[in-house]
Symmetry: D2
Subunit: 132 residues, 4 copies
Amino acid sequence: MNEVFRLDFKVRDYECDLQGVVNNANYQHYLEHTRHEYLEHIGIDFAKLADEGTMLVVKRIEMDYQFPLRSRDHFRVDCRLERISPLRFGFVQNIVRLPDMKPIVAAKIIGTSINRQGRPFLPPEIDQAFSS
Amino acid sequence: MNEVFRLDFKVRDYECDLQGVVNNANYQHYLEHTRHEYLEHIGIDFAKLADEGTMLVVKRIEMDYQFPLRSRDHFRVDCRLERISPLRFGFVQNIVRLPDMKPIVAAKIIGTSINRQGRPFLPPEIDQAFSS
Amino acid sequence: MNEVFRLDFKVRDYECDLQGVVNNANYQHYLEHTRHEYLEHIGIDFAKLADEGTMLVVKRIEMDYQFPLRSRDHFRVDCRLERISPLRFGFVQNIVRLPDMKPIVAAKIIGTSINRQGRPFLPPEIDQAFSS
Amino acid sequence: MNEVFRLDFKVRDYECDLQGVVNNANYQHYLEHTRHEYLEHIGIDFAKLADEGTMLVVKRIEMDYQFPLRSRDHFRVDCRLERISPLRFGFVQNIVRLPDMKPIVAAKIIGTSINRQGRPFLPPEIDQAFSS
């Protein structure tokens, strides 16, 4: 449970807005992509689950913006899973610029798992993967 | 078949990039949204079709960029359908700035309809809607 | 200060992801666009300020996801400004589906104003607009 | 001039839409990012040029969509520069899926270079880089 997963990125120019820095919403994309890569790493396929009717959904997100990323910046996003309750899990995530490790964003995401009807539903494979 | 459908928009700041103008890819979003609104207008539900396994897909797009849109600009996107063959249809689309009608983008999009297996498939309701 | 600004939208299909609902990051776009329209409404031009070197920046965002929006949904985003300190301001924002007013997202955004060097800087026109 | 530049990517889930495949506009993002990386590779900084008032702009884009990318797909985008005239340059670009090299998109992009006033303007460093 204490494993920290890390993924490295480089800013793409289209992710920057007219202030010349990465648009705020794009940090959510970086965080989401890192979570999905982490899930793949532990054997969970987000798209396949969606196709089968199990939705991993975000219930709450908190993000502290510490410093903006700019065109061409390299950065690292990490992801650490915390089981909060049988049906709630948290992801603690940080974005740091590379190579100087300057803090960019600190985030906490609370998620859950539902079925097509919107009811709480946790498939055994996720329950197991998130407990190991 | 000669009906021209029109939809008005306003630039959202997050659609602009570090050059201070709307990012090129976003014009494709404007064109797509206008096509989908046009389809809804003639009784075709893009998302419902996708859910049922019929995909309306773009095969080719040509876009001429005539002048850039900026923050706060108002603009109009139009859409005119041309049946090219039983399984191919074209959309002629233009974007003009409002209120001065300055040409922004001229585009031609060629689309077709396929099933989940990627094979050509045109449901009767689309065939009919596109023929009227 | 207690004025509530409201803006109505309709979901665009490209804003939905493979789960068939609006992608989480796009709600941040809706919130941002509403804030910028609110700023324009009270006489503040976000893009012009950026061009002149004054950046209105988000420091922290909290979002509770209550229910997802789907293709074609209509929705309303509101925005209420709260002055937190001379250099910090908060925006309380809600997204509700139309016409049934179902709660979709509840958000709180903390922002500040900086100059090109990243130092706190509040132009008098913003100070005045945010105090009235 | 005949050098072919290549960049490898992996599909991010947020780039897929409700059809379960990469949204059409995102291929433009992939193409643009690859062009900008190519420009960086030959010593041209797109964002710095924009900051100094020289805009490299797209005048025309043609894209043939051959097959869609899906969640988790790996793919390669290439970029080959062709000087069309003193002030016009073309980029021939292809997207292929990895590792099977299945053709995904074939594109041709025509660009030019303008100054802040929108007038044709080619800085010597670009002229030289594009001639070598």
